[in-house]
């Protein structure tokens, strides 16, 4: 039995204050870096083809674009769950 399918970028993606967005597979969503000074990503967000936007995912300490978007972690086992979801809940508190 196989469940699921994944689609990943073949080449490295480079973003800076000039090239500040990247389209996901077939333009389903877009990563947009709003405020980046070369060291910290103060502001970035996700947009999708349906016109939805995420909140600002960056902050004054944000040093990467690492993110889990949606419930994919449920399918990827405990490591995403414990690492990311736990931390995300802590960040909310």
């Amino acid at each position: 039995m196989m469940t699921g399918l994944a689609i990943e970028n073949a080449e490295a993606i480079t973003l800076d204050s000039k090239t500040n967005s990247y389209d996901g597979p077939r333009g389903l969503f877009k990563i947009v870096v709003d405020e980046f000074d070369g060291k910290v990503i103060r502001s970035w967000h996700i947009e999708d083809t349906y016109g939805e936007k995420s909140r600002n995912l960056g902050d004054a300490q944000c040093g990467s674009l690492d993110t889990v978007v949606g419930e994919v972690g449920l399918y990827l086992g405990g490591h995403v769950m414990t690492n990311v979801y736990h931390q995300a809940l802590d960040n909310l508190n």
């Binding site: 070369g38 939805e52 674009l65 949606g70 990827l76």
Partner: protein, 406 residues
Amino acid sequence: MEKRGLLHIVLSVVFLLAFTLPGNAEENAHYKLPSPDASFVAPEEMPELLAPKLLPNRHGIERGITEGFMIRQSSIEDGKIRIPPGGLIYFTFGGEGFSNLNGEPLIIAGKEAIWLGKKEAMAIKKDFIVAQGKRPVPLCEEGTIALANTFSMEGFLNVRSAAFQFVFANGYRTWDLSVVIPSGYARSRNAIAYGYLQGEGMITPPPLQFFGDPFDASATFFVVVDSVTPQGIKIKEAGALDMIWFKTSYDKPIVANDVAAGQTLQAGKYRVKVLSVDPELGTVGINLLDSKGNVLAEKTLGPLTLDIYRNQKHILEHSTIIRPTLSLDYENIRVQINTKFDMPFGPGPMKLMNEAGDFVPVSQMNEVSSFYGGKVDLLIYEDVRKMELRNPWSEDTRFILQTAYI
């Protein structure tokens, strides 16, 4: 008891460290997960994209479909943000786990699709070392399922021990952690548990019971360990399932029910001629013709009988021998017997659809409704797409297709 408790704690701490310490920085993000302080976007925040959707299969049974993505191993280098290859990874999970035959729904990057089949194979690698703290070793080409050394300990109670895990390129660590030692002088956890239940009690010397066999296997993987060396776990041979390609269609099939022998069906530039229908054997002979009437392909589909449904309910779906017998594939056209079953996802009876269109347990059926009345129910897909994993995706070549979960 105290010693064992302490051992458990020590092992737990070591395992935790082994899991959370980053491996060596490699060019791509394969086999890794997002950083622990990654942000999280809940489905409620972008429901159109992220909320599970319900789509029906060919028989109207709805399956939940979830899309989402993650970004892993991204970093800031020289004033630029860098996402390594494989760092942006999109996932979709739909009805494909239920069947390759019933037109199960899937959404691929926002576009509704029908899951039509897949090719799986064992990725096998022989005579190699899986080192601790190093990148997992793919069993086949880059991006296939890999073995990761998750734990090594030298000289603990005079036994050099180590553990490993299978890990998918998307970062999912899967299947039992297996513990190995240099020789076969050990017992698996199951064997210890079994012996304990049989009143055997614990075997002395007790510490050795914590180490497992030098081999492990299940329906989907096997590992034979040679020894644990200071360099890492030396593996004689390891194999695990991975997917080679899958087939899908964005268009719904032509449903041609109750087709009698001698009839010809039009499908775009092709024609499908039904030569024979045998409800007893559950077979149908077909010819695929081009517009001039030349025979392009010929095949007898089936057999598809009640016996197969009754006795081989999982084999029907999973067998790479039975499954292809039910369809004729020629370039991007597929002619398939209209299978009408609802395979249980776990225990429970297989249900078949009767001629009235209701699903009933297979025990209550006395015929395969796909062959009701001496006529056959066929499906014709006109635009089947074969998608090769670990290859550029034809619909957006910036991306490659990858396994999500076997």
